[in-house]
């Protein structure tokens, strides 16, 4: 079959092989589907007092509700704390294009 031949000829396929070698967990989904979910996710999750209280209470023995279909969403790997938040920026300075 000329698939192997194609891998040599098609630069795209060669690049794909490179990527899969680096990230074996890439899976069979075409590129783009994970990105789709990431695109739709609406920005960074910020400090949520409910989440914060829950984490502080350390609900060790209680089972937290399962994540369900949202488990593919990237929510970050820790609960934000007030100290760790980036400062809200405000741009009241004039644009440098004016200067």
């Amino acid at each position: 079959e000329d698939t192997q031949e194609k891998e040599g000829i098609l630069p795209e396929r060669a690049e794909e092989a490179k990527l899969r070698a680096k990230y074996p967990s890439l899976g069979q989904k075409p590129g783009g589907s994970d990105f789709l979910m990431k695109t739709l996710q609406q920005g960074q999750k910020y400090f949520d007092s409910g989440d914060y209280s829950m984490a502080k209470a350390k609900m060790k023995n209680k089972q937290l509700p399962s994540t369900g279909p949202d488990k593919n969403l990237v929510t970050g790997d820790h609960i934000p704390t007030p100290q760790g938040l980036p400062q809200r920026k405000s741009s009241l300075i004039t644009s440098k294009l004016v200067g």
């Binding site: 690049e15 890439l26 960074q44 200067g99």
Partner: protein
Amino acid sequence: MAIMKDSGGGNDIQWCFSQVKGAVDDDVAEADIISTVEFNHSGELLATGDKGGRVVIFQQEQENKIQSHSRGEYNVYSTFQSHEPEFDYLKSLEIEEKINKIRWLPQKNAAQFLLSTNDKTIKLWKISERDKRPEGYNLKEEDGRYRDPTTVTTLRVPVFRPMDLMVEASPRRIFANAHTYHINSISINSDYETYLSADDLRINLWHLEITDRSFNIVDIKPANMEELTEVITAAEFHPNSCNTFVYSSSKGTIRLCDMRASALCDRHSKLFEEPEDPSNRSFFSEIISSISDVKFSHSGRYMMTRDYLSVKIWDLNMENRPVETYQVHEYLRSKLCSLYENDCIFDKFECCWNGSDSVVMTGSYNNFFRMFDRNTKRDITLEASRENNKPRTVLKPRKVCASGKRKKDEISVDSLDFNKKILHTAWHPKENIIAVATTNNLYIFQDKGN
């Protein structure tokens, strides 16, 4: 046959540096990242939006007949804070103030109007000039303090006297709370009364006078989000037919919809898609086919789409393939692995037509931008760089060496700076004047013959 020197992207245009705006230093503040560039309908005004939510409008000087060099320069006309960072308390999400798009309304009276949008809210701004003020009030001093009425012994009629020109921007309408997902496009209808706004999954129709309601005309959100396969990436109204609009998708398709057909235009009237050879398919195929911009030609007969590696021209009468395809930077095909790792493969390049629809332009990396002449089939690569900033010196064409022996003056693919991307470009509607935005600088180039 005489060998023609590559004289430009079309019709022997010789592009020269005209102006550059913005900071010189390499340390770019995030707020200064330019996110949109747009000429108004006459080309007299040029608007930019940035990540800091600010709009800067430049105005072209009146042509100076005494100094015969080129068309007038663009100088700052007005600047204002269009959008501020906001916080959605219900979802604990920050709403960026970055201006995603600016679209000008055609001028109806002395004032200028534009729509600017961030991810969630569209605003209609009125930009007006004030060059006279009333003086000679009876009850007020010139500085505004009220006079003691008992000291007023005569009456006079206040008159308008000239003052230094003041340009004021004021928000006239705020169109909010209609988009759950991030707004990627706005487009004013040729009826000049309505406009559309598109986010990843929905398109809404607004009336410019009405802010508390909008009409949903496209909704591709599946009942079960796990079934989601594509998102809307761009949308635009047809320049002449007020019932027609198109939207592009992350899978490389364009759908043309007719609002007369039904209230909810979920079923397209036309579907434009180039068939793909399944044996050529790779992990990257879908990502690089995602359309980052769609623009109708001024004539309305054609539309142009930009995907990661190419620009395609479609004839509205032919759905099964584009009529023209131009490779922007095909040499990147053998770099897709690293471009995926550094996220560059997701960069959204825009594209634009010249006034006569004969030349198209789009940006690339290393601060290069490309032009394709549809008639001569010639193309050119130019660079937006402060090193070439002598006015009236013709820009030297650039060439990227894909592989093999690099010739003198060529740049190899591995030397390209992928942080220097030109995502936003604009072409004056009538003249050969172009605005090219690098990360934080705005370049203006003109045809030497101007």
